[in-house]
Amino acid sequence: MTTLPETKSPIGSFTAAAFATHLAAQPSSAPTWWLDRKRAAYESFAAIPLPTRTNESWRFSTLAGLTLDGFEVGTAGPSRPGSDATTSLFGLPALAFANNTLASRTALPADLAAKGVIVTTLSAALNSHPDLLKAHFMAQPQKLGSEKFAALHTAFIGDGAFIYIPRGVEVPAPIVITHSASGAGTAVFPHTLVIAEENAKVTIVDHFVSADSASTPDNPNSKLQTPKFALGANDLYAAHGSALTYVAAQNWSRDTLSFQFNSTVVRRDACVQSLNLHLGARQARHESLSQLQAPGAFSEMLALTVAEGAQEFDQRTLQIHQAPNTKSDLLYKNALRDTAKTIFSGLIVVDPDAQKTDAYQSNRNLMLSDDAEACSLPGLEIQANDVRCTHGATSSRIDPEQEFYLQSRGIAKADADELLTFGFFEEVLARLASEPLHDALHELIKTKFKK
């Protein structure tokens, strides 16, 4: 945590001139309300100061790492049709974005298209579905401390995914979206918006990757050459009775400053499961908000993090129970190596009338080195009495007996760490219903242990 007075520019590279250039590059078909929203967002971005040491929602974060200088809004540039090496893990992407622009797409199966499933770009949806966009795009309150960065996202967003599943439609296979960034100093603003209508069922996978470093595993000790800035967001809306599974795999290059804002609205009897896998970036902040708005709503929030080198993962979550008989279950697991640092700050809020709430929040930190640091801030704010709310946080090494056993079988420390990490993670991975998805995530996590 920095104690020096901040002298950094609050807007950095994202100057009024850069914003004017961005606006001028918007297609002529872009509706006025959209441009107005961007202008308003830019204004609030510029007006809100950078977080300071006394900001409770940034407690324990390394504020010195939050620099907005030296970036340029990424453009299509040299065409780089979706990096196949990584996307193959989850299957063919329905949409692949590279540096804020659509690079490639795969047509939907005909039967789904016939049922009215829409998987398109935000820029197309601006004209085809303006009302849905207006109602859902960045529509939820920013309550976790990043109002400034969320505004920056809205101001500079280039394109993103728009997914609409009509009433009663079940999509059998996961819809995969990839977002890649390439080039030194590139700033990207990935976005995925999902609307699951009544009784719809769908699984979405967001895969974030740096195209110019995906093929070789990053060496944390190498000189950082291609700093990037990734500021992503997603809006998930689960209508009455729907079931939405959302998996995000973040594997930006090791010199990326990353933000990801997750906003979930769960309506009556709907069920949302989200799993965020954090592997990449130099410093990554993830904010996840779940609003349980009607009886029977259920939100399951899962996250897995492998933190190594000098990486910092800063995770902030908020579960708001706004109606009676709602349920939320959060489990965030971090494995820490080297001098890595993780911060978990979670809050369960039970509104005054949300009786019969069942909320759970758990943060488990597996300490695998003597220099790693784990901070936990599990919080509760309960204003109804007939509830079951519990939270737990543990930080510890693995059972020494298990370690001893592995050693006695001749397993090297690095391999033992990997085995123990997978054993530790399995509880979360096993909650995924889809086996191929489980295996793909497993594979992806493995890449982090390859030397």
């Binding site: 220099d371 640091e373 936990s376 801030l377 309960i382 709310c389 946080a393 930080s395």
Partner: protein, 483 residues
């Protein structure tokens, strides 16, 4: 995420913060006695006030300097409202009296205590015969100790038990070394305030190897309107010694809010044990903003037992700095928040040596519109081995509009330590209440029994008279909470 206490909630949901005493019966338990004060520093705080207090106490120049330095710090520090409740803004520092004294010398025997003060003690429920069992009583009647009775036995063991003025004057060689060291003046705004205007409180020194058989006790009481009480306590337990200290606090209700801001420092040297027990029952218009911290050296043990029943707003997080190998820290905390009350309590455990262990058990009960908050810090820095922390927070919500919050912060570095934290929120089991009612108890009695059951495993660890008093207080608070 502690900021969300105020930031993330719609304003309408929190009327209690704006004016917590609205609609509260202000007369219940109301009593006070006319007191003639010989010394009165007047209202408001300035350098003049501080100089006045110091001169009345005939203090050494270094203490005056200490006070003036603290005053500067207090005036320059902001209110901690970026994380704490906005209710703090309702404290009017310029309307508070910072020092009142009758100018008496501390009394040595019960017979010398003036009758009207004895009368106050009777109302507080200290039966006259009980004093025979008390090792010593240091009762702070407004600023000064009105009565102190150190049993010969304790004095013979070499134990020094005096008020802050006396101790700093007569034993500076012992107390100066530790005074203001555990809690530095600038630790927080309120510790700075206390350092500027402190008076009264107990300074205790227990020599090497001495085990004080009976608990030492003190009662604090605010008797004047708009009076802020700033007692200062410093307990030093030398190597291998043991001592138990108990404090109780009460105040009659006044129409305007008053402030209590104490600083308590404990030093447990090698192998020493200190147990500090508080039953806080201030009137519910008292701001109770207290800083309590202990340093535990090698193999020493510090245990805070903290019960908060009264006050309008309590902010108190007893802490232990585990400085020596195998030191142990413990906080057992019970908080009961009724209408108009906010009990913002918790614990801090700072591990600074190998193999140190700490344990925090906090239980809170919210009744009516009461709000209880647990706030805690557990810190284990890098390159330590074998440190362990266990934290458990349980909250019981009695009525549908009761509120509870939990904001722990746990930092662990390295892979040779272990922490675990658990919190739960629940309500009283309906079947249990129904069963008790079917056996002829009223709903209120059943509820009271259930609440006492909830805290029983903690209350059992208290000295007997305190657990009895606690039970009585809970019965009183639960009256009329249901139905």
């Amino acid at each position: 995420m502690a900021n969300s206490a105020t930031d993330t909630l719609p304003p309408a949901a929190d009327p209690a913060t704006d004016n917590p005493v609205v609609g509260i019966d202000q007369t219940k338990g109301d009593f006070s006695y006319k007191v003639d004060y010989e010394f009165d520093a007047g209202t408001g705080l300035s350098e003049k006030t501080v100089r006045y207090i110091s001169s009345v106490k005939k203090e050494a120049p270094w203490i005056l300097e200490f006070r003036l330095n603290a005053l500067k710090k207090f005036l320059s520090m902001p209110m901690p409202t970026h994380w704490a409740t906005k209710d703090l803004e309702n404290i009017h520092f310029d309307k508070i009296r910072y020092y009142l004294s009758q100018g008496q010398k501390p009394k040595r025997t019960w017979d010398e205590v003036p009758d009207d003060i004895k009368k106050t003690f009777e109302r507080l429920g200290i039966p006259e015969q009980e004093r025979k069992f008390l090792a010593g009583v240091e009762a702070q009647f407004d600023s000064e100790a009105a009565y102190s009775n150190i049993k010969d036995l304790v004095a013979k063991q070499g134990v020094i038990f005096a008020n802050s003025t006396e101790a700093l004057r007569e034993h500076p060689e012992i107390f100066r070394k530790f005074f203001g060291k555990v809690i530095p003046t600038g630790d927080n705004k309120f510790s700075a305030l206390n350092s500027a205007v402190f008076s009264g409180g107990s300074f205790i020194y227990v020599p090497k190897g001495v085990k004080v058989a009976q608990p030492l006790q003190a009662y604090f009481r605010i008797n004047a309107e708009n009076f802020g009480q700033f007692e200062r306590t410093l307990i030093i337990a030398d190597e291998g010694s043991e001592v138990v200290y108990m404090e109780g606090c009460t105040a009659p209700k006044f129409s305007t809010s008053t402030l209590h801001s104490a600083v308590v420092e404990l030093v447990a040297l090698k192998g020493a044990k200190i147990q500090y027990i508080t039953v806080q029952n201030w009137a519910n218009n008292v701001f109770n903003l207290v800083t309590k911290r202990g340093v535990a050296h090698e193999e020493a043990e510090i245990k805070w037992i903290d019960c908060n029943i009264g006050s309008r707003l309590t902010m108190k997080y007893p802490g232990v700095v585990l400085k020596g190998r195998k030191a142990r820290g413990e906080v057992l905390s019970i908080a009961l928040a009724n209408d108009g009350q906010h009990q913002d309590t918790g614990a801090k455990m700072i591990h600074a040596a190998d193999e140190t262990t700490s344990n925090i058990i906090a239980k809170s009960i919210s009744v009516g519109q009461g709000r209880s908050t647990y706030r805690g810090i557990v810190h284990i820095p890098r390159h330590l081995k074998g440190c362990k922390n266990n934290t458990e927070c349980d909250a019981l919500l009695i009525n549908s509009n009761s509120r509870t919050d939990t904001y722990p912060a746990i930092t662990v570095r390295g892979d040779k330590n272990a922490t675990q934290h658990e919190a739960s929120v629940s309500k009283v089991n309906e079947e249990m209440i129904f069963y008790m009612q079917s056996r002829g108890l009223t709903e209120g009695q059943a509820m009271s029994l259930a609440v006492n059951g909830f805290i029983n495993d903690l209350a059992r660890q208290f000295p007997m008279e305190y657990s009895v008093e606690l039970k009585r207080l809970i019965d009183l608070e639960m009256e009329g909470s249901v139905g």
